[in-house]
């Protein structure tokens, strides 16, 4: 069936370095993608989104890249800080699904 998955369940990055979190999706009809950050004991926080008519979108220290050819989504975080330590989820949506489909998450740990 259709699914949204992550290549790596955990990722450790040295403070100040850049991090890249990857997400693969299998529904070719998906046209809207969101990245969320969830800190321990809190609800997911919206980070950035991208629609399928774009292949790159930038925010503050974050960039989302979308490769529709290989159905791959990534979140780049520049100059990581300790506060970036969290679980990051990707989510996809399509006209066919009527709901967001979430990945299982990647735990990012920033090493001081």
């Amino acid at each position: 069936g259709e699914s949204v998955g992550l290549h790596l369940p955990t990722l450790s990055v040295q403070e100040g370095d850049n991090s890249i979190i990857n997400c693969a999706y299998s529904n070719s009809a998906s046209d809207y993608f969101i990245w969320y950050k969830q800190e321990s004991g809190k609800g997911p926080q919206f980070i950035i989104d991208i629609r399928s008519n774009m292949d790159k979108r930038q925010g503050q220290r974050v960039t989302v890249l979308l490769n529709k050819t290989v159905k791959h989504l990534s979140l780049q975080i520049a100059a990581t800080q300790p506060g970036d330590s969290a679980v990051y989820f990707c989510a996809e949506d399509s006209p066919l699904n009527e709901k967001l489909t979430f990945g299982t998450g990647t735990r990012l740990t920033i090493i001081p």
Binding site: D31, Y32, I34, Y36, G41, K42, G43, P44, Q45, F46, D49, F89, A91, D93, S94, P95, N97, E98, K99, L100, F102, G103, T104, G105
Partner: protein, 118 residues
Amino acid sequence: SQTIHQWPATLVQPVGSPLSLECTVEGTSNPNLYWYRQAAGRGLQLLFYSVGIGQISSEVPQNLSASRPQDRQFILSSKKLLLSDSGFYLCAWSRTTGTGGGHRETQYFGPGTRLLVL
């Protein structure tokens, strides 16, 4: 700006007891509302969603139910809790797209309720 509230923040309940979790949204009208459950270290499971007052769609058959008595209020209930109902319950809202379902917009999450059933 819009805000979403959930209460209680934490809850410990015995097996077989009833449950009522509340979610309210401020700063928007006619939002789409969602209830999710998250098991420890796991992803998000959609339980219910609502596109309007009194309109509830169930995603997973179980001993939970949802109601939307007011435009910006969403309630998750159970008559008798099971051990397997333990988890982190998240409410979310999104803007209505007007195209039906309204799922193709960003969802914003509340702070969550941690439920432990003993």
